[in-house]
């Protein structure tokens, strides 16, 4: 078990080191950092001095090691565009993205699980086939199109939900939350629906597949034979058995939701990390790009590792197979 843990953690650290290498290469080789920092009047001598003082003349591995050492402490330098410490810039935006992703995840579970159960139980009926068909449309609609359509219908035509921004937020320490104000909650509605759309279809399809599997299993047949009512079999026994993969997938998908949120954030001008990153891309603000890459990958890798380890703890068979 210990061996497995160590192996898994070592793996995660290696992946993060490679991601950091990529981030560092962007930082170092896309555009000359010196060129981006100085203005027209700077002399060559000043540029050379700056290059020396920033350590850009050191050997590559030394620079990389320094980058990693700084990154571990959360120091990604200063944004070229906002002239602000990158880490605090991202920390400022993180709550917005997190709350959006959280609400979208909840919506996807609340809507996706029952839909999956219904389509599995009533397999072949017209409405479950219809739902299946709708779910294909759901994965086919690009999320920016969903965002645009939601704004058009609910913000402009019906005028019942705000179309941009986060509303009023309440600061709790360094965290800011939109949950505590009416305008903050209203602002969450459209973006979180847009973001959850794809996830709903994933959850629904997963639940459906798992349910079909379970319904074919022996214990369900036994339960039926014993005369336990159908709803009890479906919701108490069968559903419970397929929740584990759903939880796993949801946890592992939080990382990609955070990344995908950048599209939703662009459409709704949601002041999260994704909007910040996309602006950094258009303005070639390398430190912000590098930091965002590292942080999102870190969340992604950390969640995956955590899920893997939890699985190993729960399921000894897996543990044996892995180590």
């Amino acid at each position: 078990m210990i061996v497995f843990l160590i192996k898994r953690l070592f793996n995660a650290v290696m992946v993060m080191l490679v991601v950091a290498l990529m981030a560092f290469m962007i930082f170092r080789f896309v555009g000359d950092p010196i060129q981006l920092m100085v203005n027209e009047q700077t002399t060559q001598a000043e540029k050379d001095a700056l290059r020396q003082s920033l350590g850009l003349n050191d050997p590559f591995p030394v620079q990389y090691a320094r980058f990693v050492a700084h990154a571990v402490q959360g120091d990604f330098g200063v944004s070229y565009r906002n002239q602000q410490d990158v880490m605090s810039l991202i920390a400022e935006r993180f709550p917005a993205t997190f709350e959006l992703v959280l609400v979208a995840t909840i919506i996807s579970l609340v809507v996706g699980v029952p839909l999956g159960v219904v389509t599995a139980i009533h397999r072949g009926r017209w409405f479950s086939e219809g739902l299946q068909f709708l779910s294909i449309i759901g994965v086919s609609l690009p999320s920016f199109v969903i965002g645009i359509l939601l704004i058009l219908v609910f913000a402009v035509m019906l005028n019942i939900a705000p179309s941009f921004g986060r509303g009023d937020v309440v600061a709790i320490g360094w965290w800011t939350t939109g949950f505590l104000t009416p305008s903050g909650r209203a602002a969450l509605v459209l973006p979180s629906i847009a973001l959850s759309f794809y996830q709903i279809t994933l959850v629904m399809r997963l639940v459906r597949a798992e349910m079909l599997e379970v319904l074919r299993s022996d214990f369900v047949k036994f339960a039926r034979a014993r005369g336990i009512p159908a709803w009890r079999i479906h919701y108490r026994h069968a559903l419970r058995n397929c929740l584990m993969p759903v939880v796993t997938m949801t946890a592992m998908n939080v990382g990609s939701l955070i990344a995908f949120a950048l599209i939703t954030e662009t459409v709704f001008q949601w002041p999260g990390m994704g909007l910040l990153f996309l602006q950094a891309v258009t303005f070639v603000d390398i430190p912000v790009m590098a930091a965002y890459l590292c942080i999102v990958s870190f969340i992604f890798v950390a969640l995956n590792t955590l899920v893997d380890i939890t699985y190993a703890l729960i399921d000894p068979r897996l543990r044996a197979a892995r180590s």
Partner: protein
Amino acid sequence: MNLKKILLTGAAIACLAGAVSANTLRWGSARDINSLDPYSYGSTFTISFLNHVYEGLVRYNADLKIEPALATSWEVLPGNIWRFHLREGVKFQDGADFTADDVVASLTRVSDPASPLKGNLPAYVSSKKVDDHTVDIQVNGTYPLLLNDLTNIHMFDAGWLKAHDAEKPTDVAKKIEGYATFHANGTGPFMVESRVPDSKTVLVANPNWWDKRQGNVDRIEFTPIASAATRVAALLGGEIDFTEAAPLQDLPRLAASPNLKVLEGSELRTIMFGFNMRDKLHNGQPNPFKDLKVRQAVAMAIDLNRIHDKVMRGKGRVSGTYVAPKIPGYSADQDVPVAYDPDKAAQLIKEAGAEGASFELVCANDVWVNEEEICNAVVSMLTRVGLKPTLSIGPNAVQQIKQSSGEADMFSFGWANEPMLDAYSILLQVFETKSDNAGVFNWGGWSYPEIDKLIQSASVEMDRDKRLKMESDALKLVKDNLIMIPFHQQPMSWAVSDKVESVVQQSDNKARHWLTVMKATN
């Protein structure tokens, strides 16, 4: 007893909350300000926003004439020295008194070699405190436009700068963020309550402002909304009360909405297209634009009226010259656009041997009104007369590096002559040959000695009429040589919600919300 007290307190808080939110102006802007530090970036928009917080020694009044602000009077002494008498009893928002030391510290900071704004104060040499409320400013010669320059040089508190180690302009290279980038302490009508870049900046009224407050806005919530469609949705949905950038294509719909009012006009800013005049294009080919015939052909190939009708939807004003009519130095007889004549253009291009010449037109998509569409239309029109332009489009922060470093073969350009409000501004900064203080925006590397001579004599001419004559003569030479092709004075299009009683809109296209009056709410 207790319960009553609690109820009363509750009521009082409710009242207070009501009062606070009563006159909140929600401003949805097309872009964010670059910084809270007015000396960090030479952006007219950022400086005009920060004018709510910081003030200069003098300012423009409602007719764009100069009037006293933090200085009450001034005189010119022998030896190119200007003496300013400062307003007494003015306090900074942190409570410090406004004195001569503050003026000296501010001028030292803005004229620092690393300051991006030092070009806005070209004649400045040094400044000296005479007594607590008198300052002498030394300039480098006879210079008629110092007051114009000073309208937008904002005054910092010397003690505050020192306490926060911000006496020098922000220097990204040193990996430290400037304190002034995220904190502000001015003398102006509003104070910064909070700022999250790209998200929200909140200003609240400064109760101790020295001037009489004509508006009644207590609080400004400034939110950048980059997407035009979202901005319109926000206006229609009643989520914002004011924007300085209502998309032209949506004006009819906005005006038709019962809850919105649209304010239009032409602003001072002239949009024009310039050429690289170096020997080679960026792709290494010989530069056809060195030939006046080709520049004339380009001008003839562009149908300004059609761009005005279709792209600008009839808003703004087609211009034949480089400055707006309100700018001193303008002359009406130059204000005749080159006539549209595609056949002649194609013929001139053939004659010049420039047929099929491929080059890059560099435009931005986040600065001027409908710039991307204008540039697309120009590409079509130039293709039809036998040239092969390709369009490079991107955010200004990226495009301007290309334009200013000579990588752009042809480029879009806008100049409002702010804050100087005199044609000398564009002549000195754009059309004069590049040197230490001149030609900062001479992006194409042009040089016309006869134009330089006129500009230099205008800069020391204290007689206003003679000076303006020299300036308009210089502009005529610019037009004859078609260094740039003037397009139009771009339209202003503001929109306000019905919560706003009145806003003041000047042709400098700057919001002045200390003058804005909102309707009483109950």
